[in-house]
C-alpha cells in the first residue's frame, strides 16, 4: 500500500526525521490559509501516488497569496499520469544546497533489507543508477540482524555526505530503519534528503527530508489497526471498495470484458488471453477487471463477484475461468445462476470449467438453458469468444 507524500511525511515526523513545515490542503481556501501561515515563498505540491509529478506541472512555487490561490486552482483538479490529484501539500520553501538520495526497502532477491544511498539525489533512483551507477551505494540489513549506528555511520561516509553532514545523516538513516520496522514498511525513501540553509552561514546548514515515498505491507495491516489512519477514500475506485467489503481481490482495468477466476495467476493469465484476443480480432477489446474469487469459493462468493463485475457499465461480456482445485465448479455454476436470477442481466457470460466437479458445473449451466450463458472448452477459446461477444455488444450499442 503506497502512501501519499503528506502521509509519508507524517510518519517521518513521528520518527523525529527533520521535514519542512507543511500543511495538507484540499481546496484553494485551505491552501491560502496554509500559505499565509507558512509564509512566502512556499511550495504547492500535488498529492498523487505516482512519480514525475514535477515534470507534469504538479509542483509549483507561490510567492504571495494570490499566486497560491491561482496555483491551487490549477493543480487541485489535475490528473497526473492517470492519477487524480488528492489535495496538495503546502510546504515551506527551503534553500537547497545539495540533494542526496536514501532509501530502505525489501530486497526480494537477497531476501533481506536494502539500504540504498547516493550523493546524486533529486531525480528518480532508477535514473541515477543508470547515469551514475558507481555513485549508488548499497548495504544489506540481515533479516535476523539489525542496523546500528556503526553501520549507519559507515554508510553515510561511503556515499560521500559532506563531512559536516555525516553524523546527522547517520542518525537519519537509523531513524528511517526504525520507521521501516515500526511501520511494517516495504519501502521508505527520502528523495531528496536535502542539505538546506544559507550557503554563507555554516551554522544554518542541516539535512531535511524534502520529499518522501513510503509503501506499507498490506499483509501487516492487522498489526496496525488495519491502517485506518491512511484509508484513502478519494482515490479508491467504487468497484474496488465494494470488492474489498466482500474480501475479494479486484482491480479495475476499465476495459470491456469482465474477468473472474480462481487464483491470482489464472486470473492474470485470463486477462492476458482477453487482451491477446482483442488484438488478434482487431477490436481493441480489453479486460475490464481482475477478480480472484480465491480458493474454495462458495456459490455466494461467486454470485457477489458476478454482481460487482456486472455493475460496471463498461462491461459488455464476462469471462469466468475456473480450474477447480479446492474450488468446486458446481458451486461456481450455482453462484452464476444465483446472480443471474437476482440481477436479470442480459450481458453474455462465457464459462470455462476444468478440474474439481467440472462436469457437474457444466450440467447445471446446461439445465438453466439461458441464452446468455456460453460454455467453452479451453481458456483460450473462452477468451476469444468473450472478446468477440464484447465487441459485438459494443458495436450494436
Amino acid at each position: 500500500m503506497d502512501l501519499y507524500e503528506y502521509q509519508a511525511r507524517e510518519l517521518l515526523e513521528e520518527h523525529d526525521i527533520p521535514t519542512p513545515k507543511a500543511i495538507f490542503a484540499q481546496n484553494s481556501h485551505e491552501v491560502a490559509e496554509a500559505a499565509d501561515q507558512l509564509g512566502y515563498p512556499c511550495v504547492i505540491k500535488a498529492q498523487v501516488k505516482i512519480g514525475h509529478r514535477g515534470q507534469a506541472g504538479g509542483v509549483k512555487l507561490a510567492h504571495n497569496r494570490d499566486e497560491a490561490i491561482l496555483l491551487a486552482e490549477s493543480i487541485l483538479p489535475m490528473t497526473i499520469h492517470g492519477h487524480k490529484v488528492n489535495g496538495v501539500l503546502v510546504a515551506e520553501a527551503k534553500n537547497i544546497i545539495h540533494e542526496y538520495y536514501v532509501s530502505i526497502s525489501v530486497d526480494r532477491s537477497s531476501r533481506d533489507f536494502d539500504v540504498l544511498a547516493t550523493a546524486n539525489g533529486g531525480t528518480e533512483v532508477e535514473e541515477i543508477a543508470k547515469e551514475h551507477p558507481e555513485s549508488v551505494k548499497r548495504l544489506h540489513i540481515d533479516a535476523l540482524g539489525d542496523f546500528d549506528l556503526e553501520a549507519a555511520t559507515k554508510m553515510a561516509d561511503s556515499i560521500g555526505f559532506y563531512h559536516a553532514d555525516g553524523a546527522q545523516a547517520a542518525q537519519i538513516l537509523l531513524k528511517m530503519w526504525q520507521c521501516f520496522k515500526d511501520s511494517d514498511a516495504t519501502l521508505v525513501e527520502i528523495n531528496p534528503l536535502a542539505k538546506i540553509g544559507d550557503p554563507d552561514d555554516e551554522s544554518s546548514k542541516s539535512l531535511c527530508a524534502l520529499d518522501a515515498k513510503i509503501s506499507l505491507d498490506g499483509n501487516a495491516a492487522f498489526r496496525h489497526d488495519g491502517w485506518q489512519r491512511f484509508a484513502d477514500s478519494i482515490e479508491a475506485d467504487p468497484y474496488e471498495l465494494k470488492a474489498q467489503e466482500h474480501g475479494l481481490h479486484y482491480v479495475h482495468l476499465h476495459g470491456e470484458v469482465g474477468v473472474i477466476g480462481n487464483g491470482a495467476g489464472l486470473v492474470m493469465s485470463s486477462l492476458d488471453a482477453v487482451s491477446g484476443a482483442g488484438k488478434e480480432q482487431r477490436t481493441g477489446i480489453k479486460p475490464a477487471n481482475f477478480l480472484d474469487i480465491g480458493g474454495g469459493a462458495s456459490a455466494a462468493v461467486m454470485s457477489d463477484s458476478l454482481g460487482i463485475v456486472l455493475s460496471d457499465p463498461q462491461v459488455r461480456s464476462v469471462f469466468v475461468n475456473v480450474y477447480g482445485g479446492i474450488t468446486s465448479c458446481e458451486q461456481v455454476a450455482r453462484g452464476i445462476l444465483e446472480a443471474l436470477d437476482k440481477l436479470g442481466s442480459g450481458k453474455p457470460i462465457v464459462v470455462r470449467f476444468d478440474g474439481n466437479a467440472a462436469a457437474e458445473g457444466l450440467s447445471i449451466l446446461a439445465q438453466a438453458d439461458n441464452p446468455n450463458l456460453h460454455v467453452a472448452k479451453t481458456m483460450e477459446e473462452a477468451a476469444q469468444q468473450a472478446a468477440r461477444l464484447a465487441a459485438d455488444a459494443k458495436e450494436n450499442h
Binding site: 526480494r108 535476523l144 482491480v251 480472484d292 481458456m379
Partner: protein, 309 residues
C-alpha cells in the same frame, strides 16, 4: 530421493485442527501422504478422526501434539505443512525450525513480509528447507509404481501421474492448469514456490533441485509479474543447467502499481514487468509460451527435440 522428501516420509500438520487444516489433511491422507500428527497446544493429547481418509478407505486417526518438538520426538516427523493463520505463522515456522523439522511447507497466505524474511533467513542458517509461504505446496510422484508420492499442501491429487517433467510455479491454479495440459506426459514433482515477495524456495533454487534430480528431464517454470525471481532463475539456468526449461509468464496486462492478488505480484517503478521477464528468459534460450497451452505445446516440442519422449 524425490524432490526434498522421500516417499513415505512422516509428516505433521501445523494448524491441522482448523477448517483449512482439517479439509486438506483429509485430502493429503487420501493421496497417500504419511501424516503422523498435528499440532495445537489447546488440543494436545486428543486424536482426530478422518473417516475413510486412508488410501485404502479405512479411517485415519491422527494424534494432536502440543508442540513441534513433541511431535517430532514421538513420530520422527521429517516434514511439516503449515496452515496456521498469518498472525501466528512466524512463531509456528520458527517452532518447526527449532524442533529440527527438515522440510516446512507454508501454505498460509497473508504473512507480513518482515515475518517471512525472518523465518526464511533462520531456516537458511539452520539448513532447513522452507517452501512458500502463500503457495499450493509440494507434490512428488511416487518413485516406483508401488509407492505413493508425497502431497504436502493443497495441490489436487490425481491430475497427473509419474513422468519426466519437473514443475515450479509462483501460482497455484496455473500449476494445476499446466499439470492438466501436460498430464499425458507426467511429472516427478510439482512445487509451488509461492506468490509472496520473499519465499523459502526461489524459482532458481527449484531449478537447481530439478537439475540435481536424476529422474527429472525437463522443467516447466511458471512466473508472474513482480520482482526478478524469473530473471535470476534464467541467468542461473543459462550457466548451470543441462536440462531444458520452458516457461510461462502471467500478467502482461497488469497495470503499474497495482497488486494483482498475490502480495508479490506488482509492477513498481517500471520493474518486474512480464515483458521484461519474457525478454530476459528468451535471451538465455528459455522459450516462453504466450498462453499456458502454448507453453505446454512448446514443452512437447522441446521434449521431442531432446529425444526425451
Amino acid at each position: 530421493m524425490a524432490l526434498f522428501i522421500e516417499d513415505g516420509a512422516p509428516v505433521i500438520v501445523q494448524g491441522m485442527t482448523g477448517h483449512q487444516g482439517m479439509t486438506h489433511t483429509a485430502r493429503m491422507l487420501k493421496a497417500g501422504t504419511n501424516i503422523v500428527g498435528g499440532t495445537n497446544p489447546r488440543k494436545a493429547g486428543t486424536v482426530i478422526d478422518f473417516p475413510g481418509a486412508n488410501p485404502d478407505g479405512s479411517d485415519a486417526r491422527i494424534p494432536v501434539f502440543a508442540t513441534c518438538a513433541e511431535a517430532r520426538e514421538r513420530t520422527g516427523a521429517k516434514a511439516s505443512v503449515v496452515f496456521v493463520p498469518p498472525r501466528f505463522a512466524k512463531d509456528a515456522v520458527v517452532e518447526a525450525i527449532e524442533a529440527g523439522i527438515e522440510l516446512i511447507v507454508v501454505i498460509t497466505e497473508g504473512i507480513p513480509v518482515a515475518d517471512s524474511a525472518y523465518f526464511v533467513e533462520l531456516a537458511l542458517r539452520k539448513g532447513v528447507r522452507v517452501v512458500g509461504p502463500n503457495c499450493p505446496g509440494l507434490m512428488t510422484l511416487g518413485a516406483t509404481p508401488q509407492s505413493h508420492g508425497v502431497n504436502l499442501g493443497i495441490i489436487p491429487d490425481g491430475i497427473v501421474g509419474r513422468g519426466p517433467l519437473g514443475l515450479v510455479s509462483k501460482s497455484g491454479t496455473l500449476t494445476y492448469q499446466l499439470m492438466g495440459e501436460l498430464s499425458d506426459i507426467g511429472f516427478t514433482a510439482c512445487l509451488g514456490a509461492g506468490g509472496d515477495p520473499i519465499v523459502g524456495t526461489t524459482l532458481q533454487e527449484a531449478l537447481a533441485a530439478f537439475e540435481a534430480d536424476e529422474h527429472t528431464k525437463a522443467v516447466m517454470m511458471i512466473g508472474e509479474i513482480g520482482g526478478s525471481a524469473e530473471q535470476d532463475a534464467a541467468r542461473w539456468a543459462a550457466e548451470h543447467m543441462t536440462k531444458p526449461v520452458v516457461a510461462y509468464i502471467a500478467g502482461f496486462t497488469a497495470p503499474e502499481g497495482k497488486q494483482m492478488g498475490h502480495a508479490g505480484a506488482i509492477v513498481s517503478g517500471g520493474k518486474g514487468t512480464a515483458q521484461d521477464k519474457k525478454e530476459t528468459l528468451e535471451a538465455v534460450g528459455i522459450r516462453v509460451g504466450k498462453t499456458p497451452k502454448q507453453a505446454a505445446d512448446i514443452m512437447r516440442d522441446v521434449l521431442a527435440e531432446h529425444g526425451i519422449l
